[in-house]
Amino acid sequence: MADYKDYMLFDKLPHTWCAGCGDGIVLQSIAAVFAEMELDKHDICLVSGIGCFGRVDDYLDINCMHVTHGRALPAATGIALANPALHVIVTMGDGDSVTIGGNHLIHCARRNIDLTAIIANNYNYGQTGGQYSGTTPTDSITSTSPYGHIEQEFDICRLAEAAGATYVARATAFNPVQMRKLIRGGIEHKGFSLIECMVQCPTHYGRYNRQGEAADMMKMMNARSIPAEKAKTMSAEELEGRIVTGVIVNKNREDYYTKYKRIIDAQRIREEGGSVNEN
């Protein structure tokens, strides 16, 4: 039986994250799912971007490609198409995934590339000092919205669903058991899967918005959580300010590579030798 520690680089600890940060819970969940599924490390490739959560690859003993801010999904698209046998995991924060990289997210979901996007959403840019991002809630105080944030935030899961994602789920750092279950569901899903992990940033977002310490923020997240099944019966007004958790979308649609492979099979010049894409 594999252990999450088998997938970790303990010599890289202590990690870079602040005391009370929720990112470590997501990291442990990812490693625990690898162990649960007993995945061969050589079959996994993790692609990460820039930001607090972009540093997740530093602590994992697997294939890693650490790229530029917002570009993890397109880099992962190249890997997933060049070697469709790999489990491609993409770790991003709210900046990477729906702010600087928002365009890549919607197109990756639309194409239904077979990979798993794991997004740690802490409502702000933690690594650079707590500036607002595309998911910062309206009226929040951040280092660049000192008078209150006037923009409307993205709901990452609804954005992904509208763009065509075939597996969409959300968990909070309060509930790592559910987080692991949803991440596993995403990895096992064929096609584009996205798991939004709500994480607390007590250092910046929490402090600016007087949300207390990490534990207070986690309790608040839990208090706001509503299971996806129950949310279906609720009105938009009732759902205001709530965090819908669990599997939100889970449907079958043929992934990009499977479709493209049919073109290859139909068009291929038979006398040509093998290629990497034959696996």
């Binding site: 890693c64 650490h66 880099a75 890997i79 070697n83």
Partner: protein
């Protein structure tokens, strides 16, 4: 060796060359005057088991190329100058992560949308310095459709050999020029594929990067059964782990420059035309080569000892060859379709008191032999 004659345009020959070189992945965003490369790749790649994907922009195209290449598939993209601007971010990622790829830039006029899609050769400096931070770059420039086939194979070989993105600076004239090309299938000894690690090496001893010498370190594909691979655009150590200490930053910077600059002789390709006894020497590249050859012929017919040095490799700049011309010729003229980007580089080497003249054209019309000759009379 299989060989066939075709009457095609430069952009089509690029696709044939890429496939002959073993490229099996294309990610790109269409832009004139390069779109025929995308269309050719979309049509041909699946026939060879390869993949074409049209991305949402040039930023993601460049990222996808690097991902596919890391997974072991030779990869390429094509764009034109404004799209090349968007690629700079992940071109830098490719340089820092040391991932091979080939980027075809069919240059057009600018800045911005410019006179879309008229020819220019004004990305010499963007090619060299467009990505931020100190680094070196390899860039080749074709002057014929034959070059578009042959040099494409060279570009992939250099990318694999030096584990770096390689630029192919074509232009609208060459990209859309239609002429006869002989496409000779390269033999196995003419194709260079990235060096693989010693099959007996253990994960513990394996290092995805090396900085102790200027030589290139083997690169296994992500997904191989034996070695885990770690790449990053952050300054890293030999293990590919983030390492921002001053000593490491400095050696990585020097390494990325030296692995190309110290091998300039191997990378440099130049051609000469009537150069041996030339008193007036032209130094040029790309589409301007064609007009310059005519200018040399006209001048020779008039009894003027004119000749030409063609820079097929633009970066690293063929310093030795340029210096030899500057030391010997009384006058050097630099024809180019920009305001003097190449001429400025040549002046850097002019320790010989050589008279250097510029023949520039920036109106989106191919520079003519007469215009080049007129430079001498000014």
């Amino acid at each position: 060796m299989k060989s066939q004659k075709k009457f095609i345009e430069g952009n089509e020959a690029v696709v044939d060359g890429a496939i002959a070189a073993g490229a099996r992945f294309y990610a790109g965003y269409p832009i004139s005057p390069s779109s025929e490369i995308a269309e050719g790749a979309a049509r041909e790649l699946p026939r060879y088991g390869g993949i074409y994907i049209q991305m949402e922009d040039e930023i993601s195209s460049m990222a996808a190329l690097l991902g596919a290449s890391l997974a072991g598939v030779k990869s390429f993209t094509a764009t034109s100058s404004p799209g090349f601007s968007l690629m700079q971010e992940n071109l830098g990622l490719g340089i820092m992560s040391e991932i091979p790829a080939v980027i075809f830039n069919v240059q057009r006029s600018g800045p911005s949308t410019g006179a879309a899609t008229k020819p220019a050769q004004a990305d010499i400096m963007q090619a060299r310095y467009g990505a931020h931070g100190d680094h070196s770059i390899i860039a080749l420039s074709p002057s014929s459709v034959q070059d578009c086939y042959d040099l494409t194979i060279t570009a992939f070989n250099l990318a694999e050999k030096y584990r770096t993105p390689v630029l192919f600076l074509s232009d609208e004239v060459i990209g859309h020029l239609r002429e006869t090309v002989t496409e000779t299938e390269p033999g196995p000894d003419q194709i260079f594929s990235r060096i693989q690690p010693d099959p007996d090496i253990s994960q513990k001893d394996f290092r995805p990067y090396g900085y102790s010498s200027d030589s290139v370190v083997p690169m296994p594909a992500v997904g191989n059964r034996k070695l885990l691979m770690r790449t990053t655009g952050s300054t890293h150590d030999e293990k590919g782990e983030f390492s921002p200490n001053p000593q490491n930053i400095d050696r990585v910077t020097h390494y990325l420059t030296n692995k190309i600059e110290k091998n300039a002789e191997d990378i440099t390709i130049t051609r000469t035309y009537q150069l041996d006894d030339a008193e007036i020497a032209f130094i040029t590249f790309g589409c301007s080569v064609r007009s310059t050859i005519s200018a040399v012929d006209i001048l020779r017919a008039e009894g003027v000892r004119a000749g030409m040095l063609q820079l097929v490799t633009i970066w690293p700049m063929p310093e030795k060859e340029i210096r030899a011309v500057l030391a010997k010729a009384g006058t050097v003229v630099v024809p180019e379709m920009n305001l003097g980007q190449l001429a400025g580089e040549i002046r850097k080497f002019n320790d010989y008191g050589c008279r250097i003249l510029q023949a520039n054209r920036t109106d989106g019309v191919l520079i003519t032999p007469q215009q080049i000759i007129n430079t001498l009379e000014d």
